[in-house]
């Protein structure tokens, strides 16, 4: 029988994959993809917990995560476009003007 742990482990693995993506990607667009992966991983965990505890709160959280992800993508992509217009690249290594 598939238990809560199974789902959580899958969630953890996907989350770690997202984390690897976040860490190794230098292209901003790809970074966005990686964050989406992480968000989805968390959503799985929420949905699973919601299911196994018979509580809707987890699903609610998942909804709002999706909503936030959507907003993030909308604004983020807008910003990426502006950035690309300005610098002609999305590679993070080229943006180091905030060096301390």
């Amino acid at each position: 029988m598939i238990g809560l742990s199974h789902y959580l482990i899958v969630s953890a693995l996907i989350f770690s994959i997202g984390l690897i993506g976040v860490l190794r990607r230098r292209n901003l667009l790809m970074l966005f993809f990686a964050t989406e992966v992480m968000l989805n991983a968390v959503n799985i965990a929420f949905a699973a917990i919601s299911h196994y505890y018979n509580d809707l709160t987890g699903q609610m959280f998942a909804f709002f995560i999706i909503a936030i992800a959507a907003s993030e993508v909308a604004v983020g992509l807008g910003l990426l476009i502006v950035l690309y217009k300005k610098y002609g690249t999305l590679n993070l290594d080229d943006f180091a003007s905030m060096k301390g």
Binding site: L19, L23, L92, D93, F95, A96, S97, M98, K99, G100
Partner: protein, 630 residues
């Protein structure tokens, strides 16, 4: 009678405040007159009180108000007029009155005339508190009060600048004043500790309560208390090793030296021993130490006086020496004799100082007796006064000093402390020698002063004002018997044993031989002018004595300078370089680490994400571990 107590106490205070009103304005003779009259009122009140106490034999005890009360401690402003304090009151106010009147003449040309009277009267007020208080804390008020007044008065001519020690052994009035104050503070600490010991063992500071409770105390407590109180007395009465300030205090105006540093304040130490005699009677070891130290100081100071050339310093050393006598008497248990010598000494020593003041006045503030001589003609009255005072000091029969000092020397014999007796006898001879060396060098022989100096006698009223002291210096001794019956109502009586009584003629004769011998030696050496003996003056002993056994230099080299050096080191090396540097070091460490950590801010988001991930994973691990532990 209570009102009289307050009049005697507060008249000098009123005088002081009145003079202080005019403190910053130019000289007003009436200020001096009013201050003197108020003092005379105080004297009159004291005399009436003395008569009252004498006739009724009862003490007057008044409590004005509460001063400090905290916890179980209750200190009132209470005043006790009994045989001991009334004696002191009378002596103090009498000498003060004379000195006040004398000062009107002496300070005539000083621009701070009014201020002087303000200080002088304030001193008398403090002294009255000291002697009249009915508890140790009140005594301490007076104790410190006279210290401050003495500081003000020694430093009266504060505008003089510091000079090298070789030129003037006391450097400057302000230096001497500070020295006096600080040394007195050392004594003050001893006194305070004594007060603390008494308080925590008795629970009160009132004399009557404390003395009544003494039998219940252990001997170690009593010894500690007695020793602590005596340390206090040592400072105020300038006993070795706290004696250097007294000769330096001669920087003050001469009336001050007469009043404070001869007649009254310095005797406060003796007064304390007499006042607290029940404690000291129960601590024979401490008492013997007092007697021994007193004897030593008597000899020690007299030896320094032998070669000194400074008119006032000689008298100051002689004061020291006489204080030693008083302590010797008090330490040996002859409290009433000590008190009697205190009173007699006050009269003739004040007279001596005032005479010296006349000489100074005449000689344009020259103090070196080697540069005087032949003043007899110009200053006949002063010569007589100083002669009388010196005779009294030397202990020539019929003069006051003979009775009191002889009694002390007999006491030493009577107690079987023959070493002390021998030293005291020898000192009596030295006393006679240096007193008359000074008189002869000043008044006899040819003149050695510069021609532009025209010696002249002091004002008439000043000379008249000095008369009571002169008379008392002569006749005070005759009241010894009466005095004994008067004060021994309060103080333990001290009578010579039968054995001593038999020998009294011999003893007196021995002392007299030494005294007369001293005078004769001085006469031979100095009466016909000064013949300087280069060889003697260059001898080691002479130099040792002339430099006061190098004690001031020793203090300077081993206390003053190291203190300043250590202070400087503590500030620059410890405070700045260790304590503060540690604090700044922490701040600098934070700054530096921030500066170093700045390198993490590469500006590359990817790096930040790495760091964030590191932090996140670390937190995860911590969470995991703590979950496992739980």
């Amino acid at each position: 009678m209570e009102n009289l107590v307050y009049i005697a106490l507060f008249a000098p205070f009123v005088g002081s405040m009145f003079a202080a009103l005019f403190g910053m304005s130019p000289k007003q003779t009436f200020v001096g007159i009013i201050a003197s009259s108020l003092l005379f009122i105080s004297f009159a009140a004291s005399a009436v009180l003395a008569f009252h106490v004498y006739t009724t034999g009862t003490a007057i005890h008044v409590t004005m108000m509460e001063w400090i009360s905290a916890g179980d401690l209750m200190i009132p402003f209470g005043f006790l007029v009994d045989q001991v304090s009334v004696t002191m009151m009378t002596v103090v106010t009498l000498v003060s009155t004379v000195v006040h009147i004398y000062s009107i003449g002496y300070m005539d040309h000083d621009k701070s005339f009014n201020r002087f009277f303000s200080y002088l009267s304030a001193f008398v007020f403090s002294m009255m508190i000291l002697v009249m208080s009915d508890n140790f804390a009140g005594l301490f008020i007076g104790w410190e009060g006279v210290g401050v007044c003495s500081w003000l008065l020694i430093g009266f001519w504060y505008h003089k600048e510091d000079v090298a020690r070789e030129k003037n052994p006391s450097i400057s009035p302000s230096w001497a004043a500070n020295e006096a104050f600080i040394v007195n503070r050392i004594a003050g600490l001893g006194m305070l500790i004594g007060i603390f010991i008494i308080y925590w063992n008795v629970g009160s500071l009132q004399y009557d309560v404390v003395f009544a409770d003494l039998p219940n105390l252990s001997s170690s407590v009593l010894n500690a208390a007695a020793l602590a109180l005596f340390i206090g007395a040592m400072g105020k009465s300038a006993q070795f090793p706290l004696h250097t300030w007294l000769t330096d205090a001669m920087e003050g105006p001469t009336p001050v030296s007469a009043l404070i540093h001869a007649a009254t304040m310095v005797t406060a130490g003796v007064f304390l021993i007499i006042r607290a005699n029940p404690i000291f009677s129960m601590t024979p070891e401490v008492s013997f130490f007092i007697a021994a130290l007193g004897t030593f100081v008597a000899f020690f100071a007299a030896s320094m006086a032998l070669v000194n050339r400074d008119l006032k310093r000689i008298i100051a050393f002689s004061t020291l020496s006489q204080l030693g006598y008083m302590f010797a008497a008090a330490g040996l248990g002859a409290y009433w004799i000590a008190l009697f010598h205190l009173a007699a000494h006050a009269f003739f020593k004040a007279l001596l100082f005032l005479g010296a003041g006349n000489v100074m006045h005449a000689m344009d503030d020259e103090l070196d007796i080697f540069k005087m001589g032949g003043l007899k003609k110009a200053m006949n009255w002063t010569y007589i006064y100083m002669g009388v005072a010196s005779l009294a000091l030397a202990g020539i029969p019929i003069f006051a000093g003979f009775f009191s000092k002889d009694a002390i020397i007999e006491t030493a014999f009577n107690e079987g402390t023959y070493v002390l007796w021998a030293i005291l006898v020898l000192t009596a001879g030295m006393t006679a020698f240096y007193s008359f060396r000074q008189v002869f060098l000043t008044f006899h022989g040819a003149k050695r002063y510069k021609d532009e100096i025209h010696p002249h006698e002091m004002y008439k009223f000043v000379l008249i004002a000095m008369a009571p002291l002169a008379i008392l210096a002569v006749i005070a001794g005759f009241f010894m018997g009466g005095f004994q019956t008067f004060v021994t109502k309060l103080l333990p009586n001290y009578e010579m044993s039968h054995h001593t009584h038999e020998l009294i003629v011999v003893l007196t004769a021995v002392v007299l031989v030494f005294a007369v011998g001293g005078i004769w030696l001085a006469y031979k050496k100095y009466a016909n002018g000064l013949k300087r003996d280069e060889k003697l003056e260059n001898s080691f002993l002479y130099k040792l004595l002339a430099n006061q056994y190098y004690i001031p230099q020793f203090y300077e080299e081993f206390i003053t300078k190291p203190y300043a050096m250590i202070s400087e080191k503590m500030w620059k090396d410890i405070d700045m370089k260790i304590v503060d540097a540690t604090v700044d070091g922490i701040a600098k460490f934070l700054y530096k680490s921030g500066d170093k950590a700045r390198a993490m801010q590469t500006g590359n988001l990817s790096n930040y994400l790495n760091w964030m991930a590191v932090g996140g994973v670390l937190l995860l691990i911590v969470a995991a571990i703590s979950a496992m532990l739980a």
